[in-house]
């Protein structure tokens, strides 16, 4: 008697298509599909994927309620012993879908597991659902599938799960004891030597971080204020002259919109690789609303739209990088006398 598993994957891994097919509604398939084969093989008959649920990433994001209803309905009928989703690697909407569908299935009392890159937005749910840490692209499937299969089997069997570093899942905010190979005093000396030599080290207990950005006081008089537009939606001049990456951006761009009443498809485009670019390219104002801001200027709602904007691609970009970019260009905004910023994201 082997464990019955249901696997959730997206349109890309089901070979339906890429971004252009991200709108597909959930489908129920028999047996394994795509990466499910690797999971099945790893279980060697002790567990098997009886059904695969395929759902488009955009569909899940835009019709979450309907998607969940449909999927949970199937799961209740199938009554699997386990539900596994992904791995999503660095695909943000896929990671979000995996995490959230797992949370919903978990509420039915069925054990779940998913996997993704630590910086995937879906990883924000790591305290609510167990997430195996994977590499940032599908090139990491060869490590991710066996790792997920192994941990899933332990969960199916009800075995004791060790600490996150031992088992390969993202820390769930729960402290779990484990025995190290070396005594603490040696680990402390080794850690200090690394720190003294400016080498990377990993603390065994991250201090709780109280990173709250306190909002600045509201603008008293908008009609006198200079407002700047910024975006992580990747709007750049036609041809992307500064080659901002479509994912994991290494830099940001600063562009002049003085004299532009509205962005045009001839002059501007998006560099972002994480969403369907058709509508942004057809009308870039959808991501960077220059047209609306100019209207506000004319009507006196705002004092003025700043003549420069700052842009980068948020897709798969490290938090540390995002912080770095903003720390730098915030200074330029302040120096230019900007009072407030509207930041658009996708």
């Amino acid at each position: 008697m082997s464990y019955k598993v249901v696997h959730y994957i997206n349109q890309f891994f089901a070979n339906i298509g890429g971004e252009e097919m991200a709108h597909v509604a959930p489908e129920l398939r028999e047996g394994f599909v795509g990466p499910g084969m690797a999971l099945n093989n790893a279980w060697k008959g002790e567990a098997e994927i009886v059904n695969t649920i395929v759902c488009g990433d955009s569909y899940f994001a835009e019709h979450e309620k309907e998607a969940k209803e449909q999927i949970l309905g199937w799961v209740k009928e199938i009554k699997p012993d386990f539900f596994i989703a992904g791995p999503a690697f660095n695909a943000g909407r896929y990671g979000y879908a995996c995490a959230n569908i797992c949370i919903a299935v978990q509420e039915l009392g069925i054990p779940v597991l998913t996997g993704m890159y630590t910086e995937n937005p879906g990883a924000d749910y790591k305290e609510k659902v167990m997430i195996v840490a994977t590499r940032d692209s599908a090139a990491g499937m060869r490590q991710a599938a066996p790792a997920m299969a192994k941990l899933a089997m332990k969960l199916m069997k009800g075995e004791k799960i060790g600490a996150s570093v031992e088992e390969g899942y993202m820390n769930m905010g729960i402290r779990v004891n484990m025995f190290e190979k070396e005594r603490g005093a040696k680990r402390a000396v080794d850690m200090l030597i690394k720190k003294l030599n400016n080498q990377p080290f990993v603390t065994e207990y991250p201090m709780p971080s109280f990173d709250r950005v306190a909002p600045n006081p509201a603008i008293k008089d908008l009609s006198k204020a200079t407002i700047a537009l910024c975006t992580s939606g990747g709007i750049v001049p036609h041809g992307n002259p500064d080659h901002i990456e479509s994912s994991s951006a290494s830099h940001y761009g600063e562009y002049d919109i003085g004299g532009w009443d509205a962005l045009t498809p001839e002059g501007w485009e998006t560099a972002h690789g994480g969403y369907d670019p058709i509508y942004a390219n057809a009308n870039p104002n959808r991501v960077l609303p220059v047209d609306v801001m100019r209207e506000f200027e004319r009507e006196g709602v705002i004092g003025k739209l700043h003549n420069k904007f700052y842009t980068t691609v948020g897709n798969g970009t490290a938090v540390a990088s995002a912080k770095k970019f903003a720390a730098e260009y915030a200074q330029k905004l302040v120096a230019a006398g900007v009072d407030a910023v509207i930041m658009t994201s996708t």
Binding site: M178, K181, G184, R187, V189, L192, E204, M207
Partner: protein, 441 residues
């Protein structure tokens, strides 16, 4: 240069009989002689001895202190200066140690914080003293110390507790010194030498190595929470400095069981693991300058003063890095963070060793205080983890107080003799000098 050579005698067994000697690795103990020694103190009515060996189905509880027998054979001073020996400064010459064994004091409980040692079973993985052959000294308090209220939870009269604590503490040190003395004229199985240059010598010898100091925080919060340095109650001291080898001669002894899991028994002070690990790297990857000791008093002004002093000494020494170890939890978490933040702000990089109280579900904040500057932490694990200890065949001590040891609850001692409690009750299981391998993520 301050140099101490330690000579190790690996003890294979302990036999209680009618003579005291060490022969072929076996320690023979004259029961009558040791009994007379302990009963010199009128606060102790009676004492009996027992031996617990690794792997045996034996439980020792309540445990007060664990001590390694040592004797000073060459050089100034004697073992446990200010307590057993006179106050002359130690840390040089030759000292012999009886390894793989320990003296364990046990007996009627003074407060809530004594612990438990299991020599086998799951508990044995969590206490280092399941690996030593333990010579157990089970003391019984004199009648005049007993609580007059027969319904009292704890048997010792409140006012008399400090006297009894001291009596048992001294009994353990006396026995350890007596046993250590038996090695004086023998030849050790092996030796190990430790040398610390003075500041000037150190900088000349190792101009390119980062200079590191070890900041040892000592528990100093009152009854069962005190530590003694050369016989001085560390509550009443200003932060100061020691040669690392002074600690090896027992100049710091324990009077505390803050919770059994993270109390530093005298044994761990004598075998301070941070001192040993820093010596291993001394002259190679770092220059081990010395030890700063600082206390953990309950008054805010004392905390501020002591942490200011610890940081000041780091600054004065001009070191590059410091390892900071804590003793205890909760209240002293504030001392730990104060020390760390102040030392870091002097430009000295720190790595700290602590343990955690994250709740039985592991979801609570592990430390009572926090700061982003404490970015290099080694942990001795979550002390609130629950464990079930099966019944052991033999008991040394008494089970009467199992339910009230810190980490236990009413009903911890079950009908079948097993114990369900937090690992907090196991002696030195979450040690914050990094003596053990338990950790958490």
């Amino acid at each position: 240069m301050k140099t101490l050579e330690l000579g190790y005698f690996h003890i294979k067994d302990i036999v209680i009989g009618s003579e005291s000697k060490i022969e072929n690795g076996v320690l023979y103990v004259d029961e009558a002689a040791v009994k007379a020694l302990v009963l010199e103190d009128e606060n102790i009515k009676d004492v009996h001895f027992d031996v617990a060996r690794p792997g045996e189905s034996v439980r020792i509880t309540p445990v007060k202190d664990v001590i390694e027998p040592r004797v000073k054979v060459e050089g100034p001073g004697g073992i446990f200066p200010g307590m057993i020996s006179k106050v002359e400064a130690v840390g040089s010459g030759k000292t012999y140690c009886l390894k793989d064994m320990a003296v364990v004091t046990a007996g009627k409980i003074v407060g809530f914080q004594e612990g438990l040692i299991d020599m086998s079973g799951p508990g044995a993985d969590y206490t280092p003293f399941s690996k030593t052959i333990n010579f157990c000294v089970v003391c019984e308090p004199a009648d005049f110390l007993l609580a007059t209220d027969p319904t009292a939870t704890l048997p010792i009269e409140n006012a008399k507790k400090p006297e009894y604590e001291k009596a048992v503490r001294m009994a353990g040190l006396k026995v350890a010194a007596y046993l250590g003395e038996l090695a004086r004229n023998l030849t050790p199985d092996e030796t190990e030498t430790f040398s610390t240059p003075n500041l000037k010598e150190g900088m000349e010898m190792f101009p390119d190595l980062p200079r590191v100091v070890y900041v040892a925080m000592l528990q100093t919060q009152g009854l069962l929470h005190d530590t003694y340095v050369y016989g001085v109650d560390a509550k009443r001291t200003l932060s100061t400095m020691l040669w690392p080898t002074e600690i090896m001669d027992g100049c710091i002894v324990s009077g505390n069981c803050v919770s059994a899991c993270d109390k530093n028994p005298t044994y761990i002070h004598e075998n301070n693991p941070v001192v040993h690990e820093l010596f291993k790297q001394h002259g190679k990857t770092l220059n081990f300058v010395g030890v700063i000791i600082t206390n953990e008093n309950v008054y805010l002004a004392d905390k501020q003063r002591s942490s200011d002093w610890a940081a000041k000494l780091c600054e004065l020494l001009g070191v590059d890095g410091a390892i900071v170890t804590q003793e205890g939890f909760g209240n002293p978490d504030t001392d730990l963070i104060m020390n760390t933040v102040k030392i870091e702000k002097k430009g000295v990089k720190t790595t700290i060793v602590t343990d955690e109280y994250a709740g039985q579900d592991g979801k609570s904040q592990s430390l009572a205080d926090a700061d982003q500057l404490a970015d290099a932490v080694v942990t001795g694990g979550n002390a609130n983890q629950v464990i079930v200890l099966p019944k052991m065949d033999k008991l040394i001590g008494m089970l009467d107080y199992v339910d009230v040891i810190a980490g236990s609850h009413a009903g911890s001692l079950r009908e079948d003799g097993s114990i369900e409690a937090e690992i907090q009750i196991l002696t030195s299981c979450n040690n914050e000098m990094g003596f053990g391998k338990l950790s958490a993520r």
